[in-house]
Amino acid sequence: MYSPYSALFKEHYWGGIPISLFALGSFAFYAAFAVYLLVYGSRAPKRALRFFGAASLLPLLVSLIMFTISVTKLGTVCKTCAGIYISSLLLAVAGVMAFLSSRDDAPGEPRAVIGAALPLIWLVSLGAISLMPALVYAGSVPDERPYLTKCGELKVPKIKNDEFIKVTTSRPIQPTLLFEDPLCPTCKAFHERLVGENIIEKLDIDLVLFPLDSECNWMLDQALHPGACIVSKAVLCGGVQARAVLEWAYEEQEFLSRAGKQGPNVLRAAIKQRWGDVMLKCVDDRKTETRLNNHLHFASDNNIPVSTPQMYLGTRRVCDEDTDLGLRFTLGQLAPEVLK
């Protein structure tokens, strides 16, 4: 699962600095502070208890923000994240209890008194300790740059006897070749990311359709995405509207995937309903089948891995992991103008 909210400074460090490292540092501080209070026992200073009560709400606050993002933007919650949310909640409960206990004084056991500046020092310490794992991470991450260009190049840069599909964008500056399957969920996520991070508009995209459907793709024994051949033909028939058809396919991917499993006619009906008769005729045309076959032969001529999506900057293949976690770093190195 890729989340754009999971790390910071992604353009400077491959994959960015995971935000969970800040949690790791801060929990180390809270654990140490808990030991401090524990040793004090019933004589713990009021200021310390109140500081702990107030500071323990910070992780809960951050967790609430991240949980809201997870649910509303990502639609899922990762296991590590859930662990941090629960820990934050428990910490906050403990903090509130500590705060409440600061009101009581045990008879015959006066509380220790500490200086007024100490909570400020603790707060600074909390900030510094929270940063430490992230700083160590940033200072020790391996240099990924030599590996960015080691995932191959196109052997045959032009499609024989045919043309790529031009995906229209507003400020195309970086020649890019994409192999995509309109019914592939990873392609959908990748496309949405390119759109969401405002990268796509700066890419000069040639699209090659590579449906993972054995109906037209001889490289598969069985269809991974049944119906992808028909939807790919619809994208081919889109002409100047190819991007709109592709984005429609991504938006309706769940429905189209179900339709694809029900049979080609269900899928044809869906295409006809959205794009009309002319599109359907084009989809069923022998020339479109030949064009799709040319796209598949282009993949075959270049011996690309049988997977989607795949991205080429110019003729250089971007490694799979670099189209995922390392995308911004990779673009920052290989095509920095795209991120400006």
Binding site: L21, A32, S125
Partner: protein, 247 residues
């Protein structure tokens, strides 16, 4: 007389705990922070090791390529490769096609064995049939040829093996089978709109002197499936098929 100072009960205990609690907090803080930092350092160095020393046995990833099916036996591929090299496909030679004498020479194979090589192509290919002494494609032949041509899928080469029946002399049949192969090529050129067609189509014409088809081949898909078929008729033909072998 002054009253002696008496601290509140427990104050001494609290004061004595101050350094103990502070030290415990500091010490545990140091341990936890050091643990966190060491853990991060270990994770990162592990990642660096994996990056610089990738697994020797990487899981194999399927790579896109032309199709390769069961009938692509070494013997079959050997004959086809000889056809490719000898008939001008592989090197972009200006020479096009192979005549019977060439085929006999480079195939180094008996008539029966040559035909047997093509048996697995029964369903992939078809027999385009001609009238006696004619090289003109009728409408059914054209349709069948187009159907076969556009069902390319992952194949790289399209083979046309033209023949003539035993009627007439050898020279005449050699020329006739050559014209039949050319008719197929001309029609493909018209419908395919493929500038690279020359490098895809392998033309062989066998006249009536090599690898004649037996009557058994009448059961193969043909452009005249509904008409009477005998040994003479089935050899007035061109067998056409994509070949799903990596050559």
């Amino acid at each position: 007389m002054t009253q002696p100072f008496s601290p509140p009960p427990g104050a001494g205990v609290a004061a004595s705990k101050l350094p103990a609690a502070g030290l415990a907090g500091l010490a545990s803080g140091a341990v936890f922070v050091l643990g966190a930092v060491l853990a991060v350092r270990l994770w990162v160095s592990g990642a660096a090791d994996r990056l610089s020393t990738p697994e020797a046995e990487k899981p194999k990833v399927a790579v896109a390529d032309q199709s390769e099916v069961g009938y692509c036996t070494p013997q079959f591929k050997q004959v086809l490769e000889r056809v490719l090299h000898s008939c001008g496909l592989a090197e972009g030679d200006s020479r096009r096609g192979c005549q019977p004498a060439d085929v006999k020479t480079f195939a180094s194979i008996s008539d029966e064995d040559f035909n047997a090589l093509f048996t697995p192509l029964k369903d992939r290919g078809a027999v385009v049939m001609f009238d006696e002494g004619e090289d003109k494609l009728d409408d059914q032949a054209k349709k069948l040829l187009e159907d076969k041509w556009f069902a390319r899928r992952g194949a790289r080469y399209f083979f046309v093996v033209a023949r003539a029946s035993k009627s007439g002399n050898q020279a005449k049949n050699r020329a006739l089978s050559h014209r039949r192969a050319n008719s197929v090529m001309i029609h493909l050129n018209e419908v395919a709109n493929d500038p690279e067609i020359e490098s895809k189509v392998g033309l062989l014409w066998l006249g009536n002197e090599f690898a004649q088809l037996s009557k058994d081949y009448c059961s193969w898909p043909s452009s005249r499936g509904d008409l009477k078929c005998d040994e003479e008729a089935i050899n007035r033909s061109a067998f056409v098929s994509w070949v799903d072998c990596r050559l």
